[in-house]
């Protein structure tokens, strides 16, 4: 079966009003989520942290406060949209595959993730609930990505790219889970190889970006696609040349990357990854993949908040949507004109 789950003309329409309503809502929410997630990444997680370098007077101060204030609202809205969207996607998934046991199992795990993700901010967030949330989230990631990676029907490069992303996340989560486990087990030593695992995962992130391009970015590549990604990459290079220490700190706090590899590796990975996003978003056939790649970028590597976990899970779900999620074709004129 080819094409995107949303626009593939050969995907049968289920004729279900509930499904169609959910699909319409999901599409709208995803568009908003991409916009506000990127907004909070730039305005809150980045700009709010470089305030120490900005002149403290007049128009600059007013602009800074306005932008960071909007970034704070964008964070709240993005976190709400992420929860709503993932919930709707789980609901849509059950409508399509309600008779399948793996489908129910996946839905249960995702529902638990959502429930904990919503509850944790309002209850005492001690070690056990936090560990449980991380464990469920990792389980969900494996359950979503593993079938895609093991399916021989999917293109090899795409399977490889997703496998690298999954393994990178497992490397990062090893530190979180191991550290929490040691605390619960009452052990007084540091878990072995947590930092090397982080380093390996960070290297895999760079490789996966290249593989993502090879898997999704080559088809339909046009010259104009190069412009935005090149501009952003050049901007990063300029910032690094200007103040490498601050850029490294921002990269760690924004994305969880320490930048221990040569800068050229990160620049190439970023350039190819952004290029892939732009190519996919410019084609309606793979809109979900493009959105998923954006959300992966916003979620980052270290997943410091429940919001970032939910973003990462939603991103993986969108990327593998043709395997799990069945969304009717938008061209069905009976229901979408």
């Amino acid at each position: 079966m080819t094409g995107n789950a949303i626009t593939s003309p050969d995907r049968p329409f289920t004729g279900d009003r509930s499904a169609a309503s959910a699909d319409a809502a999901i599409r709208s929410l995803l568009v908003l989520l991409v916009f506000f997630a990127l907004s909070e990444l730039v305005l809150l997680r980045t700009i709010s942290r470089i305030g120490i370098h900005i002149p403290k007077e007049g128009l600059v101060l007013a602009a800074y406060e306005t932008l960071t204030g909007f970034g704070s609202f964008a964070f709240n809205l993005a976190s709400v949209l992420a929860v709503l969207t993932l919930g709707l996607v789980v609901y849509r998934h059950l409508l399509s595959h309600g008779r399948s046991r793996p489908a129910w199992l996946a839905a249960i795990v995702l529902s638990l993730v959502l429930a904990l993700g919503v509850a944790l901010p309002f209850i005492e967030n001690s070690g056990v609930p936090r560990l449980l949330f991380s464990l469920l989230s990792v389980t969900a990631m494996i359950a979503l990505a593993a079938p895609y990676c093991l399916s021989k029907e999917k293109p090899g490069l795409r399977r490889c790219a997703l496998a690298l992303v999954l393994i990178a996340y497992l490397c990062a989560q090893y530190q979180t889970l191991a550290q929490a486990s040691y605390g619960l087990l009452g052990l007084h030593s540091v878990p072995r190889s947590t930092v090397p695992a982080l380093a390996i995962g960070e290297g895999l992130i760079a490789i996966s970006a290249i593989t993502v391009f090879l898997g999704w970015g080559r088809g339909g590549l046009a010259i104009w696609h190069l412009v935005p990604s090149t501009l952003v990459t050049v901007l990063l290079l300029g910032a690094f040349r200007s103040n490498a220490a601050t850029v490294a700190i921002l990269a760690l706090w924004m994305e969880g990357l320490t930048l221990y590899l040569p800068l050229a590796v990160y620049l190439l990975a970023l350039w190819l990854y952004l290029l892939t996003i732009i190519v996919r978003l410019s084609f309606h056939r793979d809109l979900f993949v493009g959105i998923g790649l954006v959300l992966l970028l916003v979620a980052g590597y270290s997943l410091d908040t429940t919001y970032q976990y939910i973003l990462a899970i939603l991103a993986l779900l969108l990327i593998v949507s043709s395997h799990i999620l069945d969304i009717p074709a938008a061209e069905n004129k009976d229901h979408f004109e």
Partner: protein, 331 residues
């Protein structure tokens, strides 16, 4: 047909309005629909009055450490290469909090007397005002100060007089040399860097947005550092509560964001050129530190339950993967 379209648009609009409404409510209520999932540094409690004799006290071996990654060194070649990290431990006795940092540093850099010399250092940073439930984004914000404890190796080791570095230096006597204004202008204006013998190697600082790093009026943080076999161990001590609204207040049972910074003088790190860690959570627990000992090596009951739950969860995933591979999509 048009009714169906309006229905679908209606559901979309409802979802969007709901999202905006919830977000507005969260913003006005100063709440977040996100919770921190970072590492937790647990500061268990020791008996009040327990003497902790520096960074080598055996009690530190009975705490649960947390190893946190640092941003890469990007000043001197070869830049990066390996991921740096710092290991943190914490304790409190109901009156004071103790934080221990350890990190690898091949060289011990104690002097900053020559322009080309830079000292090793370490810092612990907290938000002055308790942040919300997510890792604090307050660094650099105009309305949220950061309280920084900055340990400096040269102050700790009482860096010797300038003549120890420049043995041939000579200074003539001059008029008013007994007056501090002329002998030590820095000290005269209250700059602690001008103090000839500081009581503590840890400087208590406040940082607001826009380059306002300031020495706090109250220098109430003590500390000590020890370098051995390519590894620094530095201990910070402060009372849980401190006078001054801008200083961080610690409350047993509460959780606060913290992060760490390390300077390697050998590669020229100083001021803003440093390696900084991720933001993690420091939790002051009421659990006795002595009871946390796992001296017999057996897991706790909670640990056993956790392991069983882990096995069940992973088994479910394996089950789903096995059945998922065998499924084919309907045509």
């Amino acid at each position: 047909m048009r009714n169906r379209t309006y229905t679908y648009r209606g559901w979309s609009l409802l979802a969007i309005v709901t999202a905006f409404g919830l977000a507005a409510g969260l913003t006005f209520g100063d709440l977040r629909l996100a919770s921190s999932q970072t590492l937790i540094l647990s500061a268990n409690q020791v008996q009040e009055g327990t003497a902790i004799d520096g960074p080598d006290d055996p009690i530190w071996d009975r705490t649960t450490p947390v190893e946190v990654a640092l941003s890469a060194q990007n000043i001197a070649r070869p830049m990066g290469g390996t991921v740096r990290s710092v290991t943190a431990r914490a304790l409190h006795d109901g009156q004071r909090i103790y934080i221990l940092l350890e990190w690898n540093d091949v060289t011990q850099n104690l002097s900053s007397q020559r322009p080309q010399d830079f000292r090793d250092g370490a810092a612990v940073a907290f938000p002055s005002v308790k942040g919300d439930t997510i890792p604090s984004f307050c660094m650099g914000q105009i309305n949220a100060l950061v309280n920084i404890w900055h340990w400096q190796a040269d102050i700790d080791r009482r860096d010797g007089p300038a003549t120890s570095t420049y043995p041939n230096m000579v200074s003539d006597g001059y008029q008013h040399q007994d007056e501090v204004t002329f002998r030590n202008p820095a000290l005269a204006v209250g700059n602690i860097l001008g103090e000839e013998s500081r009581g503590s190697p840890v400087e208590n600082l406040l940082a607001g947005g826009f380059g306002t790093l300031t020495t706090a009026d109250a220098q109430i943080v003590d500390g000590a550092g020890r370098w051995r076999d390519g590894r620094w161990r530095v201990m910070f001590i402060r009372d849980l509560t401190a006078s001054g609204s801008d200083l961080t207040q610690f409350t047993p049972g509460a959780t606060i964001s913290v992060n760490f910074a390390v300077w390697d003088g050998e590669v020229g790190e100083r001021d803003g050129q440093k390696s900084v860690s991720q933001l993690i959570d420091l939790q002051l627990t009421g659990q006795p530190a002595e009871a946390a000992q796992n001296v017999d090596g057996r897991p706790t009951r909670l640990g056993v339950i956790f392991i069983i739950a882990l096995v069940v969860l992973l088994g479910g995933v394996w089950y789903a993967v096995l059945f998922g591979r065998g499924r084919t999509r309907p045509s």
